[in-house]
Symmetry: C2
Subunit: 250 residues, 2 copies
Amino acid sequence: MKKIIFIGSGNVATSLAVSLDENNYKILQIFSRSLSNAKLLADKVKAEAIDDLSKIKTADIIIISIKDDFIKGILKSYHFDNIVHTSGSMDINIFDERVKNFGVLYPIQTFNKEINIDLSETPFLIECNNTSFEKSIRELAQSISSNVFKIKYNDRKKIHLAAVFACNFSNRMIGISKEIMENNNLDFSLIKPLINQTMKKISEGEPNKLLTGPAKRKDVKIIENHIKLIENTDHKKIYELISKDIMNLE
Amino acid sequence: MKKIIFIGSGNVATSLAVSLDENNYKILQIFSRSLSNAKLLADKVKAEAIDDLSKIKTADIIIISIKDDFIKGILKSYHFDNIVHTSGSMDINIFDERVKNFGVLYPIQTFNKEINIDLSETPFLIECNNTSFEKSIRELAQSISSNVFKIKYNDRKKIHLAAVFACNFSNRMIGISKEIMENNNLDFSLIKPLINQTMKKISEGEPNKLLTGPAKRKDVKIIENHIKLIENTDHKKIYELISKDIMNLE
């Protein structure tokens, strides 16, 4: 059974560790700067929790899954081999030339610690510095997903950008909707059937073709009145810009 | 059986006419400036298609469902009684004082002519100038939905604003995502499992709590790199603004 170590215990690390633990991999250690966070995940996957990188054992694969800004610092201070990061936006060449086996394992997915998700359909984008390590990483990814693709950094970062719009920004639009309702003492559940229908439509068809609403109809009067109604200055600008963008569509 | 006439044959008119026709209302006439559009809907609901407003017969309820800008013009030129508009953003007082019975019937929903949707959960917001007409409108709305609420203009327009963010703008974010993928010759289907999971999460929980991604993590480096990657100037600004808005959340 191959041995895995995680550097990081956040949303991505948690989801991957739990899935790999269920699929014939042995999770050896979980590192986090916060030992209690490390323990939280380590307990789930029967691993050792550590907060000291010098205690890291030998493993078949080390998965570093922390905020991009911190990866460089850790890689400067410690030498790891057989290591992949899970970032959509970080170059594979972040790793030092002296590292023998390194690569990237980026799942196109949104992870929350509290939510168990089935990763079997999630695309995993992999990239490695040599074919034999690539084989191990492909094997690992394929143990949890049927969608594994070899994609280079130049495309991966664009896919990550597209993912931010599709996931984080669509989510935030619904968050702003909720704030508008609640700030006006209106019940957000009034909007729920609309959200459900929107999602159903998008999952079945072409998002742009299914657009409705004032901007799509170029109903400038409504747009002006809506902008007056918005109290938050940033939300005002967001409304203006997206409406303009939709009006420019045809 | 109560007799209904539609002024307008667009997305909302189509969905309402089809639903009412299935629920014990007689659709008498469909008016559109384009006779062929009127016919398209009239044929579906066994009604007469007209493109001349002077041909409108007597009906129990006239539903005017056209672009807000055009409603005023039509109401100035012709006198109708027992009339409701279906707009989220138009005052009930758009109707002339001389009209005996008037009101609003606003469904919080996104409609496309081609997609039949079950309206039974869709909230209908009603507002009328007298209680006896309100009773007829409530009865009509309740024949197709179990969620009928009396809501005044001042709240209705805010709900409409919230609906634009939740539906049109979340939809557009996914549309922009698709454009980024396709402009870079990348397969949009790579993003689909992410969209499905995003929707699943939102329909189950709190949108803001479930936010993930660079802005949520305040990962400024990624945000800067993404902004450099975006070619479309408006999309660049949209990315900047929404990221700033997410970073301000806590």
